[in-house]
């Protein structure tokens, strides 16, 4: 026996840093996808750690669906500036100009065009050969069996039945032109690990995670925050201030808030541990169709 022992968080951190460095070393043109959420915030910090005291050798990219919470966009720009990140923001402007949005086109069409298509177009535009994502295996069943280096064909599609074996910490980074790898350095982190790490490392997160009185309206059983004036007419008279927070962040019309008084990370964790809902249930898109996340992943959504 000896004292050379890491805690689980230290071990996860070391594993993630190793993965991030491996990508920087093996790929010509990697990018880190940034959703502005808590997991992204941890992933970004791990990248900063991996290359300290140097600069991170790849850019951050945010796919802006044009329906994100205003506070997210503000946080994104301030964070990138403060920490010297090269930030790329891409949107599906064609669909945006055509007026695509969740209220008018429904969540499926909106997600397909403003998120999945916007992402695929952006990856093609810059010819990125590797893209980091902040997904965790404990989030959702189809993610539980995805590799850390997840191969995508030239159409950016995932084939769950034909994944490369992945052993030890030896990652197969070989691809042909046009193909790519999605990389998930947080694969082995759980939701609690993420909060614990944010707490210990003082990682900045979007204030929407903390409870506050916000203008809300109930739509199909979800508490939706009226974040801008695109809220359809019929809901406007129903908007009321409610003490809420968000467990995940996305497009504001598709992200349900939860009633909460948690204003510190400790209170968030306490709420999480006593709560009766797992985190993705506040996401409207997961319930579109049976096994919907697996379907979206096959099509190229993360």
């Amino acid at each position: 026996m000896n004292n050379y022992k890491l805690s689980h968080l230290q071990e996860l951190e070391a594993e993630s840093i190793h993965i991030i460095r491996e990508v920087a070393a093996e790929f010509e043109n990697p990018v880190m996808l940034y959703s502005i959420g808590k997991d992204s915030s941890v992933m970004v910090r791990l990248a900063e750690k991996a290359f300290a005291p140097g600069k991170v050798p790849f850019p951050l990219m945010h796919i802006d669906s044009k329906w994100k919470f205003k506070e997210m966009i503000q946080f994104r720009d301030e964070y990138a500036k403060k920490y010297g990140w090269n930030l790329i923001v891409e949107s599906n402007m064609e669909a945006f100009r055509a007026g695509v949005g969740p209220f008018t086109h429904g969540s499926k069409v909106h997600t397909d065009l403003m998120k999945t298509k916007a992402l695929l177009d952006a990856l093609n535009k810059y010819k990125f050969d590797a893209a980091f994502g902040g997904a965790r295996r404990d989030e959702e069943k189809s993610r539980a069996k995805e590799r850390i280096f997840s191969f995508r064909d030239q159409f950016q599609q995932w084939d769950p039945k034909n994944q490369r074996p992945e052993l030890w910490d030896i990652y197969n980074a070989r691809i042909h032109k046009g193909e790519s790898i999605r990389v998930f350095p947080l694969s082995n982190w759980t939701e609690l690990d993420i909060w614990q790490y944010i707490r210990l490392e003082n990682i900045p997160i979007v204030p929407l995670y903390y409870a506050k009185e916000r203008p809300c309206v109930e739509i199909d059983g979800n508490i939706i925050m009226a974040d801008d004036d695109r809220l359809p007419e019929q809901y406007r008279p129903l908007v009321r201030p409610r003490m809420v927070r968000f467990r995940t962040l996305g497009c504001w019309p598709l992200t349900g808030a939860v009633e909460s008084t948690a204003t510190t990370i400790e209170e968030i964790v306490e709420e999480m541990m006593t709560t009766t809902k797992s985190e993705r249930t506040t996401r409207v898109i997961d319930f579109d169709q049976e096994a919907s996340m697996e379907q979206k992943k096959r099509e190229g959504y993360f």
Binding site: Y4, K5, L6
Partner: protein
């Protein structure tokens, strides 16, 4: 009790927990998914909505009668749910007051050896399930052999469905006897056996009153306390350089993960393959400098002297060198649908090194059911055996049994880029008779190239080497 205070105390305690990675293996009907479901359920990780979804699914597809079918919770992909089997590795996470756990759940079918090998490569411990009505069967032997091949040091034999035979001690003892014969034969030392009913929960989280003759702990108690961190190799310092950090002219850091051993500031180190010596000047991290580093930490090392080191090279202590060579014998598991073509050149990735490699000889294959050796012939999917490998670049390796980190490699098909095979090195081989020189040579004077161009050519060659294409230069 004050709740807010509790949560802070909980988080402070949680921060200190270590991590146990475990593999589960069993046949389709051994109740493996049920056992995992119960570990997850009883450690209160399951949220209500996952449970509600499970109840919905159970009614539609369930195989568990009136019980909740825990197996459905684990089967992630749609197609598999309909087939009623898990076809790939799925990772599950749970934690108790003492430890965090990552479970690699892998299937028991013969054709899926590949998945079990994949799931087990990072495991500290393996749970092998047997149905008490069938005892140690062919699949048990196969799974145990694979576990020993992967070098997993701790085995749990979960003798399940004891409720169906009235928790009969004789049945349990007979199975344990059988099993120990097998593990003795394979040289596995740490084996612990449990009489269980995963469905009813006997001896899973709490000791069962139905097995008064059993004096050991419940399974979860054991998993929470079995010491695993000392399983790592702390004696042989191996530091594969992963990335070279040069933020400015004054700083040249070598990023990497400590594969094994311990390194301290001031240590004399030697860079392989150049054999140049220096001393460790500092061990740098984002969170400040360290005095020493150990596995599996990811750090950045700076040296006292300006030595040119690039990715794929290795720092070690001068009095403790790994094997340095291009020729070795190894256990190999074939993971590809396409059968082995021994005339092919593969890419071999070993730590941070990638090189061209060929299978120089096939010694034998193993019948994983009887563990007998069969004659050497090209492997097909899921076949295991011993081969000799010849690489283009020099590798720095140890036997897998001594060092899991520096004894493992993967073979990549150069055309499909698939991970075709994985290897666990046994020992180095003699290189004096090597004729098969895989490394093309550029004789610069003979080609009439003047020394003014040497730097540019060397840079291009280094770049090729990074991609696994070794070219030797004669100046």
């Amino acid at each position: 009790m004050n709740k807010t205070l509790d949560i802070k105390a909980y988080l402070d305690a949680d921060e200190q927990k270590d991590l146990l990675r475990l593999l589960t293996a069993g046949s389709v009907d051994d109740g493996k998914s049920t056992l995992i479901g119960r570990l997850l359920f009883d450690s209160k990780k399951l949220y209500d909505d996952q449970l509600a979804a499970l109840e919905r699914d159970s009614k539609r597809l369930g195989n568990a009668g009136d019980h909740i079918d825990y197996a459905l919770l684990l089967d992630g992909l749609k197609a598999e749910r309909e087939e009623g089997i898990t076809i790939d590795v799925a990772y599950r996470y749970f934690s108790t007051n003492k430890r965090k756990f990552i479970i690699a759940d892998t299937p028991g079918h013969e054709q899926y050896t590949r998945n079990m090998i994949t799931g087990g490569s990072t495991a500290n411990l393996a749970i092998i399930l047997v149905d008490c009505r069938t005892g140690v069967i062919t699949q048990t032997r196969r799974h145990t052999y694979l576990v020993s091949l992967l070098g997993i040091k701790h085995i749990v034999l979960a003798v399940n469905k004891m409720d169906l035979l009235g928790f009969d001690q004789k049945v349990f003892d007979a199975i344990v006897r059988d099993y120990r014969q097998l593990t003795d034969h394979l040289g596995i030392e740490d084996v612990t056996c449990f009489p269980l009913s995963a469905l009813d929960g006997d001896n899973v989280v709490e000791r069962s009153p139905r097995t008064p003759w059993y004096s050991g702990p419940a399974l979860l108690d054991f998993l929470e306390t079995v010491p695993v961190h000392a399983d790592r190799n702390f004696s042989d310092f191996r530091y594969p350089v992963q990335y070279v950090l040069r933020p400015n002219l004054d700083f040249r850091g070598f990023c990497g993960k400590v594969a094994s051993g311990i390194v301290r500031v001031g240590d004399e180190v030697v860079a392989l393959p150049s054999m140049k010596h220096s001393h460790v000047k500092s061990i740098v991290t984002y969170d400040g400098a360290l005095q020493e580093a150990f596995p599996p930490q990811s750090v950045t090392i700076t040296l006292e002297d300006e030595i040119d080191i690039s990715r794929g090279e290795m720092l070690v202590h001068p009095d403790n060198l790994p094997h340095i060579g291009r020729h070795f014998t190894t256990m190999l598991v074939w993971m590809d649908e396409e059968p082995m073509d021994p005339s092919k050149q593969f890419f071999l990735k070993h730590n941070t090194n990638t090189t061209r490699a060929t299978i120089a000889a096939i010694r034998h294959r193993i019948d994983v059911n009887t563990l007998d050796q069969k004659e050497g012939a090209p492997f097909i999917l899921n076949e295991i055996g011993q081969v000799d490998i010849l690489t283009a670049k020099t590798l720095f390796f140890d036997p897998y049994a001594v060092n899991r980190q520096t004894g493992a490699f993967i073979l990549i098909d150069p055309i499909t880029n698939n991970t075709s095979a994985v290897g666990m090195i046994l020992s180095p081989l003699d290189e004096s008779a090597l004729e098969n020189d895989l490394v093309p040579t550029l004789d610069l004077p003979r080609l009439g190239i003047t020394s003014a161009h040497y730097d540019a050519i060397e840079a291009a060659v280094r770049d090729l080497a990074r991609q696994g294409l070794e070219v030797r230069i004669i100046k």
